[in-house]
């Protein structure tokens, strides 16, 4: 009898912890989604917690009148450019660190992350000066380059781990059976590393998508979504936006990233029927 009670208690505690963890993440999202679509009267009515009437007006206004739709497009372009540039630069570096032993390898591995010791503002202010001279200020490529500087260390470290986990013998077998080193990298190592590379791409995408400071400093007319939202909400045209606009903005910020991760994750798990780290 005592054992059964103990078991029941344990189980209850277990589910309680899980429930709390899930609620911790979900409640703010649900609240933002609900209040982003509430009518003004429902939102300000103190007797109503779960609103009765809904409208897409605020979301619509932010998207099309206040320029968030442009921001989304810019963000997608910047994130894509960031992925492309940081992969072009990061994959060869990651591969070399993983597969070749050369003097200074550990030193390089360590110093690659050292850039991240500096706070972003320290990096952003000199950058804007440089960008104005190079005519990169207020361009999407400029933001993408700045984001690449932030994501590249992680891309190098993540890809070196991924390539390190692909057995050397797979590549050697391809070389024995008729391919060059480059050929075996493209035909064997790259496809095997693909799930991991996709994860690295997702990570890069999210970092770029969320980054607001550098994007705000470096652009004026071509803003990424977070920078655009920030300028709307902080009220560059005098006074902060009403709360329901903020919730609507939170919805706009969250949804695309959530959808992206949701679909990418499904794809990752099923690839080759195996899980590479």
């Amino acid at each position: 009898m005592r054992d059964e009670t103990k078991y029941a208690l344990k189980k209850t505690a277990f589910y309680f912890v899980i429930f709390t963890a899930v609620a911790w993440i979900l409640i703010p999202i649900i609240v933002a989604f609900l209040y982003g679509f509430t009518t003004k009267t429902d939102y300000y009515n103190p007797d109503i917690i779960i609103p009765h009437s809904y409208t897409t007006k605020y979301v619509h206004t932010i998207l099309f009148t206040l320029g968030a739709w442009e921001g989304i497009k810019n963000s997608v372009i910047v994130a894509t450019l960031t992925i492309i540039i940081s992969f072009i630069l990061g994959i060869p570096a990651g591969y070399s660190i993983a597969k070749f032993i050369f003097p200074g390898r550990d030193m390089i591995k360590l110093s690659i992350v050292a850039l991240r010791m500096f706070p972003i503002p320290v990096m952003a202010i000199p950058l804007i000066v440089l960008y104005i001279r190079l005519h990169l200020a207020d361009t999407l490529l400029g933001v993408a380059l700045a984001h690449t500087a932030m994501t590249l260390p992680f891309v190098v470290l993540i890809t070196s781990n991924i390539f390190g986990s692909v057995s050397k013998e797979y590549e050697e077998a391809a070389m024995v059976f008729g391919l060059t080193r480059l050929g075996s990298f493209i035909k064997i190592t790259l496809p095997l590393a693909l799930p991991g590379l996709a994860a690295a791409a997702m990570f890069t995408f999210v970092m770029s998508w969320n980054e607001v400071f550098v994007a705000s400093v470096l652009t004026l007319n071509h803003r990424t979504l977070p920078a655009q939202i920030l300028s709307i909400m902080a009220g560059s045209s005098g006074g902060a936006a009403p709360d329901y606009y903020k919730f609507a903005a939170a919805f706009i910020m969250t949804l695309p990233a959530m959808l992206f991760i949701f679909f990418a994750r499904k794809y990752l798990v099923t690839m080759w029927g195996i899980t590479l780290k």
Binding site: S167, E169, Y170, E172, A173, A174, M175, V176, F177, G178, L179, T180, I188, P191, L192, W272, G273, I274
Partner: protein
Amino acid sequence: MVEVKLDRITKRFGNFEAVKELTLDIKDGEFLVLLGPSGCGKTTTLRMIAGLETPTEGRIYFGDRDVTYLPPKDRNISMVFQSYAVWPHMKVYDNIAFPLKVKKYPENEIKERVKWAAELLQIEELLDRYPAQLSGGQRQRVAVARAIVVEPDVLLMDEPLSNLDAKLRVAMRAEIKKLQTKLKVTTIYVTHDQVEAMTMGDRIAVMNQGRLLQVGPPTEVYLKPNSLFVATFIGAPEMNIVDATVVENDGLFLEGDGFKIPLPDDFREILESYIGKDVLLGVRPEHMTVKGVSTLEHVTRTAEIEGIVDFIEALGTDTIVHAKVGGNIIKIKLPGHIPLPVGEKIKIEIDLDNIHVFDRDTEKAII
């Protein structure tokens, strides 16, 4: 099909010499086993033949062709890796067809050859699966099928059986040997397992610490080892090695702790210069017997020493008697099940045509 010549090849990794001045000729169609403990340089040698490593010094020839600096893809070789290296993102069919596709065989010939290789290794029904869905033994078969599908000049195998369980290993041993006999492809097989080497090789090349110690047919390496290392590395249970001195005292003797073995006159010529010196005496467990219990067959001359039974290992088919001779423990292998009581005094008979004497300093075989 080609003969392989290694001409004084040396491989250094920094200050470490992995392979030292190795010279070896492998005949066309031969099954050569490179045998040695881990770290002896056998895998490095194989990788140099494959082109995955380049020798620091020396040359490698396939027939008359100098391939020393040729990349692996231009050598027309195949290799079976220790981890199989069956690519997980390709189905079994595509794995086996890969070497053919790279070499741009016509589509219908690819199909035919893959089918032929798959039938040979009995994996036809697996062609549509991914490697993750196969067992270790099946993956091994895929790796072998992929290696033979192109009819390579040289087939290289790097401990291909070491990841299989014991039963499967014995079965695959016979199968690979049969396959090689059928295909007559020059094969170089690396292993640390002396049983594999003995059962599969046309010749065995024993390596230790980067040096080639002895090359020869299995029976020759077994019965006439040229050094202490070869003698003790091959054979299970291991050859008995005891300290002895060559003594001249009204005839020639090998004398040690607890024994004195009289030697026939024909040993005199070889041992003349060792009279009065310390040597190492080696006798394999099956070249001795316990008098009155079992007899040695096909033996012309024997010697007798005394011992006390210390321990009995009953293996079912054989019995290993551990006997105390002076301060030495000597193992004697007797056929069948022989329950000798521990502590009993026994007379040990030694086959004098199968004793080995090694120089104490150089560890080279004198007899």
